[in-house]
């Protein structure tokens, strides 16, 4: 059985100035089983995958992704964000078995 499922990281640039368009990279540890594979004994491995990712920035929902099983395990998602205010960026990954995994980073500005 998978270990570490739901462990998540969000990566943003070390230095951010107000108004920068930054790239956010995020990863979550998840088996993303398609339901098409079998164990070596021939038993089917049921589908088990993240189907929704929600991104909030300072409490506002700024993005929502709908995923299918056709995404690799330990999936990475990248998107750009205009860093217009200092606020937490929070991501939630939800899977088809009811698992919810959440991670946050604080968007804070460094002196230019």
């Amino acid at each position: 059985m998978a270990h570490g499922t739901g462990e998540a990281r969000i990566r943003v640039p070390d230095r951010i100035a107000q108004g920068d368009v930054i790239t956010v990279n995020a990863i979550v540890s998840h088996p993303m089983d398609t339901g098409f594979f079998r164990t070596k004994d021939g038993d089917p491995i049921p589908a088990y995958f993240i189907n929704e990712v929600i991104v909030t920035y300072g409490g506002d929902e700024i993005a929502r992704f709908e995923w299918t099983s056709g995404i690799s395990r330990d999936p990475v998602v990248s998107f750009t964000l205009r860093a217009d205010r200092e606020a937490p960026l929070t991501m939630s990954w939800k899977d088809n078995k009811g698992g919810v995994y959440t991670q946050s980073v604080n968007i804070a500005f460094t002196a230019a």
């Binding site: 270990h3 990279n25 990863i27 990475v76």
Partner: protein, 290 residues
């Protein structure tokens, strides 16, 4: 067939075709019986290997050692089990080829070797004597060391080392062209496995596929240079935010329907290493599937 030391033989597959060629096998003859290393890709090819062994000795086949659980190395295993051999292998049989389950793996492999070659097939790679660390087999005055080095090429990698003769059967840790696949294993473990080969200092190292190198250390060095170079390249790309597609754009495209051609191996390895480096840079500790 090539004699590597008195009573130690390599049975070479194809040369010049890298991982796509028929794999190498080997055998060790002792007064108390024979130890076979790898089983060929089908029962028919296994029978051919058995006949080759029988041209040298009538002694009983005691053990079959499988260097890993890819079909091209173990689908002839049933022949040796029926001839009385017990199987030494790593208990972790998972590979990408077996992800769809045993029946699908078998059907896919029939497309590769043909139905005729597969007559009489049954899986025979589950070990009677599992090795997950190291194990020393003593038979008829010979010392045969089995070393688990995965997950380098696969989770179930074993190497066979004859310390007296200084002969190493490296399995697919080594391939003649220096491009060992890591998509089923991992680049860091492959580097550790290569360091093990160096520390053994073999006089002869039999790669999983292709010609036996004149200089074993040179093939190890070439393989290491390839893997360390690829890791550095992918690490730099990830750190600079270069997306995977662009990080791979310098590589030739993979060859269609040839999953282990040189171009396909280089491309598939690069994808795997990029993903691993991405996880490392993001600080993710584990791999959810392993």
């Amino acid at each position: 067939m090539q004699t590597l030391a008195p009573g130690v033989y390599a049975v070479l597959g194809d040369t010049g075709r890298g991982s796509e060629g028929r794999p190498n096998a080997g055998f060790i003859v002792t007064p108390d019986g024979v130890v076979v290393v790898d089983a060929e890709p089908s029962p028919a090819a296994g029978e051919t290997l058995l006949r080759t062994i029988r041209s040298v000795t009538r002694r009983p086949i005691r053990w079959l050692v499988l260097t890993h659980h890819h079909p091209d190395h173990h689908f002839g295993a049933i022949v040796f089990r029926r001839a009385g051999a017990r199987v030494i292998a790593h208990p972790d049989t998972r590979t990408l080829a077996s992800e769809g389950g045993p029946d699908e793996e078998m059907i896919n492999w029939i497309r590769v070797v043909g139905l005729d070659a597969m007559r009489g097939f049954a899986y025979a790679d589950t070990p009677d004597r599992p090795v997950t660390g190291s194990d020393t087999l003593r038979l008829g005055g010979r010392t045969i060391v089995i070393l688990a080095v995965g997950p380098a090429h696969t989770p179930g990698d074993l190497m066979v080392w004859l310390p007296m003769e200084r002969v190493l059967f490296a399995g697919d840790i080594l391939v003649e062209d220096g491009v060992t696949m890591v998509v089923d294993g991992s680049a860091p473990a492959l580097l550790r496995a290569l360091a093990s080969v160096d520390s053994l200092g073999p006089r002869v190292a039999v790669p999983g596929h292709g010609a036996i190198p004149a200089d074993a250390a040179a093939l190890v060095a070439r393989t290491r240079d390839y893997v360390t170079g690829l890791r550095a390249e992918m690490r730099a790309a990830v750190e600079q935010g270069v997306p995977m597609k662009r990080a791979l754009s310098a590589l030739p495209p993979p060859d269609e329907n040839r999953p282990v051609s040189l171009n396909s191996r280089r491309r598939r390895n690069a994808v795997r290493v990029y993903v691993d480096e991405e996880k490392a840079v993001m600080g993710l500790s584990g791999d959810s599937a392993r």
